[in-house]
Point group: C2
């Protein structure tokens, strides 16, 4: 339910600005007369909006068309949107590596870089790697830091609206870290911090396994699964940014922890020790019964958690990523058991973007932010009751 | 992310129409000059839109103000929105009763009626009671059936977009019933069929326990809980209308069914036999150990299911309704255990609308439908990528 809050003049200016900018992107170097016709706005309104957009550097007068120059009198001024008016970064800060992607305002990626980080690195060390990676990427692409319009960041944990990590057990010193504030010291543009599974869901929808679906759950499958959801094409963060943290059903409950679940020795595995987990799966494939039982317990837990997400949200599509997605035999049991548990089983596919998924989603979030400022009317014109 | 799909003339007409109608609702009998000033639209555009709205019966010329009549020349025409231009119905079709609420286009309820229905009634019998109840309500209020603009219906089950019940085990002959199509024979206006828990969530948000929250899970607590969710103030139906059917995690899975869970004899209870359930709770209060163990199992299951919903969705507020909400001691264990399981525990409160909740929500959905047609630009102006 959306309604126009009619009568607010600044709101109407924003709507008019978005309408004109959209018409400018859609038309081939339109004149003011073209824009008046396309938008239905009055000529003075269009003139005022175009002046404002030129002042903001987003619109520029384009050269007159050839035929026009020959006609009598001054040719009508023509305008175009400046896609090169700014740049965007998408950054992943993960347990084992940091990565950055660089694009123009159209989202086309033309720079990338990454660095390994020790699992046990302090928050300061980890952020220093981020700064080094970003500096490399900008330098190699010949892009000035001052031309950045927005930076998106994807990282494990529950992230507050201001970019503070409310809870993040996967990385040392992460819980309570004012990640957005820390990163904003390096950038003069908005920095948007997002949970890694949320960013991954956005990425798969943008250019991965979910381009054809607006109702998607991305499962970051690991020892304790997390998830990011798109509902009607929008990221669903939840009221406190904690949506999708389904692993907590067992982590904080009475059940056995995932680290014990997949152990063959009774001793819990380290939650980030992917090699130890891979060893258990390898043993299971070789016929080791304790390992097979451990893998079975792990898969049952994963199926249960994904089923709970699917029943709560009813997505069209489940995309499975994270390291467990690379383990043989995760997809088939998931499909089979979801068909049993769910009233309307979703399609289940593997992530297509591999290790670039989180940085790609972070970049898309930066692009969304900029486009929202430029083109969106939703959220400003709509208000519920 | 919303964008204007600039350049579509019929879309711009709709936007302009919504803007003018909103200004008409907000202002006191405005003139065309007032409307031009308020909306920023050109005078010919405003005139065209107002003519169209008058033709549709939604706007009427109001009497000139007193002072104006005395001035020289013809006074400027003034206009107002006709709130009395139509009526709405909200209908509940439940296991034990059917109910109907009647309102004007402003949503103010001025007619109500209900009838008991035997649990075992056939679909035809149940729909006949609905027709009788509606006829009573309309007759008593003196409202012609032809003035109905939309009818909302809430009923158990997974409901498809066209109003067909995809799966509905609570009512006899409900699965596969083309409920929307059957009811459309009785009405010439749109009939919107919705899952009962979804309708209840909408109702609590409109005028119940959730008026101050846009991120709400309504739990219809019974032997097998279902849920309806609002995200950002909108109903979240899921891709196939099955969102919130969390009870299926156990119903279709390997766990013991809820009917056995709450049994003290080993024999399963009938899923709709609320008296038998109440007896178990009464026994537990009297100290019967088997009954206490059964109640404990029931509460654990409910907590687990609600925790799964909360972790998946991260709502601000959980509203508990349905018959189990009336049972002593449901709220406290829910609050306590959610605080253990959930990273960001939501507030947990009881439903405020009692047995009117589903019909109230159905009425609000009918009102939403009509308002969306009249005022919404969202969903038409916005399109993702």
């Amino acid at each position: 339910m959306g309604r126009l809050t009619g009568g607010d003049p600044s709101l109407l200016r924003r709507i008019n600005s978005a309408v004109v900018l959209h018409a400018l992107r859609g038309a081939e170097s339109p004149t003011l007369t073209d824009l008046t016709r396309i938008t239905g706005l009055s000529r003075p309104t269009v003139e005022g909006v175009v002046d404002g957009l030129m002042e903001a550097g987003l619109v520029v007068e384009s050269a007159p068309e050839e035929g026009e120059a020959r006609r009598q009198g001054r040719p009508a001024r023509r305008f175009r949107f400046r896609a090169e008016a700014g740049h965007l970064l998408g950054i992943e800060i993960g347990p084992h590596r940091v990565a950055a992607l660089l694009s123009g305002l159209d989202g086309r990626i033309f720079g990338a870089g990454s660095r390994e980080v020790p699992e046990a690195a302090s928050a300061d060390e980890r952020l220093e790697r981020v700064r080094m990676t970003v500096a490399d990427v900008l330098r190699r692409a010949g892009v000035a830091r001052s031309s950045l319009r927005a930076v998106g960041v994807g990282s494990p944990g529950i992230v507050e609206a201001d970019g503070t990590v409310r809870l993040g057990t996967a990385l040392p010193e992460w819980t309570g870290l004012p990640l957005g504030e820390r990163l904003r010291r390096s950038f003069r543009c908005p920095v948007l911090v997002e949970n890694d599974a949320n960013a991954a869901a956005v990425a798969e929808h943008w250019k991965g396994a979910a381009v054809d679906s607006d109702d998607v759950v991305f499962v970051m499958a690991g020892l304790s699964p997390g998830a990011g959801s798109l509902i009607g094409g929008r990221l669903h963060r939840g009221f406190g940014g904690a949506a999708g943290e389904i692993g907590a059903l067992h982590l904080l409950g009475r059940d056995v922890t995932p680290e014990k679940l997949l152990s063959t020795t009774g001793e819990p595995l380290h939650p980030l020790d992917e090699q130890a987990v891979a060893d258990v799966f390898a043993l299971a494939r070789q016929g080791d019964e304790r390992a097979q039982a451990a893998v079975e317990r792990f898969l049952q837990r994963l199926v249960h958690d994904v089923a709970a997400l699917v029943l709560a949200l009813d997505p069209e599509l489940v995309v499975v990523g994270g390291w467990a997605a690379g383990i043989d035999g995760v997809l088939e049991p998931l499909r089979r058991e979801l068909a049993r548990y769910c009233l309307r089983p979703p399609r289940v596919v593997l992530s297509m973007l591999g290790e670039a998924v989180v940085a790609t989603g972070a970049l898309r979030l930066a692009l969304d932010h900029v486009e929202e400022e430029l083109f969106a009317v939703e959220g400003t014109v709509t208000a519920r009751r």
